[in-house]
Amino acid sequence: MMLLGNAALARGAWEAGVKVSSAYPGTPSTEVSEELVKLPDVYVEWAPNEKVATEVAIGASISGVRSMAVMKHVGFNVAADPTYTASYTGVNGGMVMIVADDPGLYSSQNEQDTRRIARAAILPVLEPSDSQEAKDYMKAAFEISERFDTPVVVRTTTRLAHSQTMVECEDRVVPEDKPYERNIAKFVMMPAMAKNRHLVVEQRMKDLAEFAETSPLNTVQYGPMELDGKKVGFITEGIPYQYVKEVCPDASILKLGMVNPLPEKLIREFASKVDTLYIFEELEPVVEEQVRAMGIRCFGKDVFTIQGEYSANMLRERVLHETGAVMPAGSAPARPPILCPGCPHRAVFSVMAKLKLHAAGDIGCYTLGAQAPLSVIDTTICMGASISSLHGMEKAKGHDYIKNWVAVIGDSTFMHTGINSLVNMVYNQSHGTVVILDNRTTGMTGHQDHAGTGRTLMGEEVPAVDFTSLCRGIGVKNVITVDSFDIAQVERVLREETARDELSVIIMRYPCALLKGQKFPYKCVALPEKCKHCGACLRPGCPALTKNEDGSIFIDETMCNGCGLCMSLCKFDAIRKEER
């Protein structure tokens, strides 16, 4: 059957008998959990963040079952603390971490390479190149985890995660739970124990490197391809392997399925049989640096890029030196992503823009408020950084400096790592204003529940974290909840709280326009005869609104969500709501 890369990873984990999986949503990793939860007899959850998810997987592994944690590349940073030490403790039941990189930055704040972190944490890494391998490598990863007593990282990329290819499915085989035995030398990482474990970890990597020499995960094909009379060889992995197969099917290819540690003998042998060796790997020169350190001459980042996604055309141009094959791209105006019609963030941002407020931003759809015409977000660093960076500004420049600033964070991101930052504001006496854009979901990744929504990934109704009580509980005195579309109220509260010489949290609440049942039962209709062409309704940048030839407003009814924001901004009653 056709399976999305992420669905194949889920399927592989399930066939391998995984019993516990914990994750925080993050493009391009999200669908792994959403697919796994459709399969029977496995516990799957959304954790508030990747550190928690990893620790959940560690606990499940220690108890003796196969477990996994799933995250995007930047989530691996959040999970770094438990990951580095789980490398020391090793596992009981097999443990796998799926980490998704994003070459080309389709939906991320940086382009870091998971292999770098995994190498620093001294962990083995597998990398599949299509959905079949995604499924098969998950099973291999659990076996390696148990055989070598280590967590195993399975690295994917956006292209793999979001491509559908054919997969042959097999049955689920659940291994017997491993018995738990108290073993503080292995599981209590105080210095005396950890010292010994470090030696174990280093030996483990040597054993794994030996395993890699003969593992079927790494495959070699020798081919007749020559360029200028020289035999051409590629060392490649993951999706780039498919580009090599597409463009140079007759080349010699060493395909690495296990990308850390590397099989040195196999690489030396392969390199000795070709004249020109290319290392074709997306993102960092991780393999290239190691091959060069072996004293082997090769081409890598001197020919290909560090930044961006690879392609078959890159090989055609830079290896085959084919020129002029491609007509240049036309000059179509850019179409950057924008907030959806009916998005409650737009209502809040339109008021913030009016009040000329600056915002320390965070990670979510609302990052899009950085761009014109809203232009309210000034900074975006990582999950949770809005609140803590606003605090830093105040400590650097004083109370008055941040009077025209707020921190803006979504509900799911607040649950992820915003709470710690808010505790810090209370403890260290900040006077800033924190705006929680509470749209009752994790929006950007495609609407996942979180601890504040009252529903789990497995569909159970549970008590929701009450943001107001939470904020009050940690010592915030001023906590106000406002309907995001009540823009008069939004304006009044923003004015009052930014002027106040105390810490405030404003919860701007309205469900995401894309949540089921959120479409309003009416549509907004422009009345050209009343329109004074003032453009007030256009300022929030709703994509359903455009100008007619004469400058009056036109509202595309197929896009309009009926939220009425444009109507509430029109002083001339030139927009009215009609029933759908």
């Binding site: 292209r159 054919m166 392609s311 491609v326 179509a332 850019a334 950007m444 455009t546």
Partner: protein, 190 residues
């Protein structure tokens, strides 16, 4: 012989469902298929592209510049944006529909005039007013299958194969209207 198809449009226009219909169609016909999609932030009203490649054996999952046999465009400007992906003699099916990018709404750039006429001077272009037809059928969301119906005229699958896969892939309650939409496009001259 590997064939390459692209579906281009604006995030939210339903390119993912269309690619799933195409994937199912080719899978049912016994081909190897690879589909590559855009998820996440890029979907939020941005330019989106889905690649479908099929044949006896397929390596790369994406379609590259100059390699597409068929481009199905759900919006005019997106047809223009991906023009350079089309093979010489490739076919473009364009939904005659305009969605202004935010850069046009804010007046930073202008929406190009006469895109379809312009593209027609360089390629085999077929135009369809699918949105109007979909509204006539009573549901604007089925416009994709009208476009797909016209595209089907330029592909080697039978009407029955198409109707079968549509009934498999669209939500059960919408099978009838989606089939109607497909047949409306299929019956158009193009």
């Amino acid at each position: 012989m590997t064939k390459s198809i692209m579906i281009v449009g604006v995030g939210g226009q339903g390119t993912l469902l269309t690619s799933r219909i195409l994937g199912g169609l080719m899978e049912n016909a016994g081909y190897e298929v690879k589909i590559s999609e855009v998820h996440g932030m890029a979907q939020r009203g941005g330019s989106v592209v889905t690649f479908v490649r099929y044949g006896e054996s397929v390596a790369e999952p994406i379609v590259e510049e100059g390699q597409a046999d068929l481009i199905i465009a759900f919006e005019r400007l997106e047809a223009l944006r991906y023009e350079h992906f089309l093979k010489p003699n490739g076919v473009m099916i364009i939904n005659d529909w305009r969605i202004d990018p935010i850069t046009v709404v804010t007046g930073q750039t202008a929406y190009p005039e006469n895109i379809i006429e312009d593209l027609s001077t360089r390629h085999k272009v077929y135009r369809v007013c699918a949105m109007e037809e979909a509204l006539r059928l009573g549901n604007s969301r089925v416009f994709n299958n009208i476009v797909l119906g016209l595209a089907a005229r330029h592909m080697d699958f039978t009407r029955e194969e198409w109707l079968k896969v549509i009934s498999e892939k669209v939500p059960p309650k919408t099978v009838e209207i989606n089939e109607k939409a497909f047949l409306a496009g299929y019956g158009m001259e193009g």
